[in-house]
């Protein structure tokens, strides 16, 4: 699936998007996998309360299932307006 990063999440991980192969059932599971990859992921995902997630461009929770999802995006709380 495609994994996208925005704002400081993007800066910490160093890329705006990447393709990820995962067996995780939920967003939380995917986050666990990513954290185990490299330090920069562990840093970016160290505090989930500071992050938001969207599945196929809709806001979701971290316990949401990944079944059928093609695009996951991680970002800090939005600051529009």
């Amino acid at each position: 699936m495609d994994v996208l990063y925005f704002a400081w999440v993007r800066e910490r991980i160093g890329v705006p998007r990447e393709s990820v192969e995962t067996q995780a059932d939920t967003v939380a599971g995917l986050v666990e996998e990513l954290r185990g990859r490299e330090e920069r992921y562990a840093v970016a995902f160290s505090d989930l309360s500071a992050l938001r997630v969207a599945l196929d461009q809709e806001l979701a929770e971290f316990d949401a299932p990944l079944d059928g999802v093609r695009e996951v995006a991680f970002f800090p709380p939005m600051t529009g307006g």
């Binding site: 461009q57 970002f75 939005m78 600051t79």
Partner: protein, 145 residues
């Protein structure tokens, strides 16, 4: 309903020219402008967004407002990219039969744009660049609705 996500500047007057609808007695607009920071050394405000999601998120928020307050018209414009102090970032407009609905709908739009539209702001000064943090008040403002 008109929802625009764009890098270019917009002209409030031009946007309002055809705005409204018959029998709508009240029109409210909100325009957001890039403010200088407290140290008065802001060079630019950089606005990042999530292109695939932005238009649909704004459209959903606008449609919710339209349904809930029976708006005769609704407009949302939000820019992204690099903006200088004094530039307009975004605007909303609402047309309703009465003033209470027009005001409430505009405040609803702003509260949701602040916390539910995929934009992120970064303040650029001569020697630093810092992401604007979301404020707890902005999240709790949604409870009103």
């Amino acid at each position: 309903m008109r929802v625009l996500v764009q890098e270019a500047a917009f002209d409030v007057a031009q946007q309002m020219r055809d705005f409204g609808a018959p029998d709508m007695g009240a029109i409210v607009t909100f325009t957001g402008v890039v403010r200088d920071n407290d140290a008065r050394n802001l060079t630019a405000m950089e606005i990042e967004h999530y292109p695939g999601m932005t238009q649909s998120a704004l459209t959903r928020i606008a449609a919710q407002a339209q349904d809930r307050w029976n708006l005769g018209d609704v407009l949302v414009i939000h820019r992204y990219g690099r903006l200088r102090p004094g530039e307009q970032i975004m605007m909303v407009a609402t047309a309703a039969r009465h003033r209470k609905a027009a005001f409430e709908a505009a405040e609803f739009l702003m509260d949701y744009l602040k916390s539910r539209a995929p934009f992120w702001k970064k303040e650029i000064t001569a020697d630093a660049a810092e992401w604007v943090a979301a404020r707890d008040e902005d999240e709790s403002a949604l409870k009103r609705w």
